[in-house]
């Protein structure tokens, strides 16, 4: 690296900005958490559809192409409950 090369942007700032993009961009996704774990990024949370999960994972992997990304996003279960709670 020459003296004039810009230093690499710290990963935590990149992740913070990506979180803003997920929330404020077309995905409108506030329910996904991005965490820096060592040199990798963990993406976790629950989203409403498989397409949403794939969109989020795709966006994160695209923006952080030089970083290992572990996606652990669940799709919300839309099944009816099998019991009720007695609230007394």
């Amino acid at each position: 690296m020459s003296a004039h090369d810009a230093p690499a942007e710290p990963l935590d700032y990149r992740v913070a900005r990506l979180g803003e993009t997920l929330a404020g961009g077309p995905l409108g996704e506030l329910g996904v958490r991005l965490e820096v774990r060592g040199g990798a990024v963990l993406v976790e949370g629950t989203v409403p559809s498989a397409r949403c999960r794939d969109d989020v994972c795709g966006l994160v992997r695209g923006e952080l192409a030089d970083v290992p990304v572990h996606c652990d996003i669940l799709v919300a279960d839309a099944s009816a409950p099998d019991h009720a709670e007695e609230v007394s």
């Binding site: 329910g31 409403p48 919300a76 279960d77 409950p81």
Partner: protein, 258 residues
């Protein structure tokens, strides 16, 4: 007994059309009403609201909803509200509705609510105008909830439920990062619930939180965000207390005002 089904944070959009409808169609068999605790859409667009409307129309049980922050993102909350009302939902903001289910009268008071934090760890109405407005806005939402619950106290309800999007208590936020609690709820909502009285408080918003909590005054709180309950909805069976149906009975869980 009254059977209250509830879910929040369903975040529907065009790609999730029809996802919840099959489960919602089972509601007449297991519930007397459905509460929707906000964040029904992803961005609050009319197009997304139409998806929600199709999921809840003609379900065979009354539907009562509040909006969430996502439902405001596109700056068309009135249009979203109108679309949901057109589908038959009661959409509340500082308002209440009384539903008769069999021989039981259920009152639901609702507001979106807002953030600000919890006792000892909360924002104050001080400093810059935007900070004062943040807290004042939260206070107005809580005042609306209190007035709506008090209105129900005079209507012989057997059961009263407070419906919000933001959380009234920190209990149901457990699992969320502590640092963001002030953006997830406000003690002002719990104060309103305890002052006016309620039998159950239902909210959403905190996807990583937990289901069960309680206000200082002893009102049970349930976080029904869909990622938390892991189902299309949860059902709560409430039994009217002895003497409920009168204002005095319905207010048994309340603190004296002031």
């Amino acid at each position: 007994m009254i059977r209250v089904a509830a879910v929040g944070d369903i975040h529907l959009g065009p790609d999730s059309r029809g996802t919840l409808r099959p489960s919602f169609e089972t509601l007449p068999d297991c519930a007397d009403l459905l509460l929707l605790a906000g964040d029904l859409t992803r961005h609050g667009t009319p197009e997304e609201a139409e998806v929600v409307a199709a999921e809840i129309k003609d379900l065979g049980v009354p539907v009562v909803a509040v909006l969430g922050n996502h439902d405001h993102h596109d700056d068309h909350p009135d249009e979203v509200t109108a679309i949901l009302r057109e589908a038959g939902a009661h959409v509340l903001e500082g308002e209440s509705v009384v539903l008769t289910c069999g021989d039981t009268k259920v009152g639901v008071a609702g507001t979106k609510g807002f953030g600000g934090g919890f006792v000892g760890r909360c924002a104050g109405e001080f400093g810059e105008p935007v900070m004062k407005e943040f807290v004042a806005y939260s206070r107005r939402r809580a005042d609306g909830l209190r007035e709506a619950l008090q209105e129900l106290a005079g209507q012989d309800c057997d059961v009263r439920v407070a419906l919000t999007h933001f959380s009234p208590v920190p209990d149901t936020l457990a699992g969320e990062p502590l640092e963001i609690y002030p953006f997830l709820g406000s003690y002002l909502l719990a104060e309103a619930i305890d002052t006016a009285g309620a039998d159950l408080a239902v909210h959403g918003h905190a996807h990583a939180g937990t289901e069960h909590g309680m206000t200082t005054g002893g009102v049970k709180v349930r976080n029904v965000a869909q990622p938390v309950i892991g189902r299309a909805f949860h059902v709560y069976h409430l039994r009217p207390q002895e003497g409920a149906g009168s204002a005095a009975g319905a207010a048994s869980a309340s603190f004296p005002a002031g």
